[in-house]
């Protein structure tokens, strides 16, 4: 058990921190929601009612979609774009999908390679893109969830101020939907771009996200 915890610290640690943050968001979100309700002469809601509200739903999934978009874009961008000196980039001479030899596919698959790599054909083709496919699908699904729960929350506000509700297609071109979407996208893109460049000149000893402390600024793709 002790060994399992040590071997899986990243996955477990971030899972626990995620759940704690989500519970924190639930409490803080409900308190904020109730303050607004009382200010507008409405009834406060219980924790369970807030958990099943579109206000909570849209606040959660608008962040999920942008995180998955971030990983999806980063994965594909780093196949074709490089950054000299960054440990986040691959070597400058490796732009593209790389050879079968480098990727251990086709005749270069080993005994330990995953089953679908050894199978060849369409299975290898699908497996070669499986991470990007999954993350891309998760982005699209959470963006869809944002559009539906966002529409619901938006229409609740409109009805409260005696305005007609809008349809889902109309909401997709509504500034509220794009404001929620783009405020998340811009922060993810800034964080990625700046991190890639900061890591050229700055170090974090022992982190695989950094180059070794003594590595030259011009060294690309080295992780320490």
């Amino acid at each position: 058990m002790k060994r399992f915890l040590r071997d899986n610290g990243l996955g477990l640690g971030f899972g626990v921190m995620f759940l704690a943050s989500l519970v924190g968001q639930l409490f803080a979100g409900r308190a904020d929601f109730n303050q607004r309700q009382l200010a507008q002469g409405g009834e406060p809601v219980t924790l369970l009612q807030f958990l099943a509200s579109s206000d909570f739903a849209v606040d959660v999934v608008e962040n999920w979609q942008s995180e998955y978009l971030q990983f999806f874009l980063y994965m594909f961008a780093t196949v074709w774009l490089v950054q000299r000196g960054s440990p986040e980039s691959k070597r400058l001479d490796k732009i593209g999908h790389e050879s079968d030899k480098e990727q251990l596919v086709g005749e270069y698959a080993t005994e330990d390679s995953p089953k679908w790599v050894r199978a060849g054909g369409w299975r290898t083709a699908v497996y070669s893109r499986s991470l990007g496919l999954l993350v891309g699908v998760l982005f699209l699904l959470s963006w869809l969830a944002q559009s539906i729960s966002g529409l619901s929350a938006y229409n609740t506000d409109r009805l409260a101020s005696l305005q007609d509700p809008v349809s889902w297609p109309a909401y997709l071109t509504n500034p509220e939907f794009w404001n929620r979407t783009l405020q998340n996208w811009q922060s993810e893109l800034l964080a990625i771009g700046s991190f890639v460049v900061f890591a050229v000149y700055l170090r974090q000893r022992g982190s695989p996200e950094s180059k070794p402390v003594g590595a030259a600024h011009t060294d690309t793709a080295e992780t320490g």
């Binding site: 899986n8 509200s53 909570f56």
Partner: protein
């Protein structure tokens, strides 16, 4: 070794279930409140 593999698969499945389950839940919440 076998137990370890099982635990790792469990973690993979748990993360996938959290994201897919969460997305399905929030879509359902949105649809029910429309």
């Amino acid at each position: 070794m076998r137990g370890e593999r099982f635990m790792k698969r469990t973690m993979f499945t748990a993360y996938l279930a959290i994201v897919l389950g969460g997305v399905a839940y929030f879509i359902a919440v949105g649809l029910l409140r429309l």
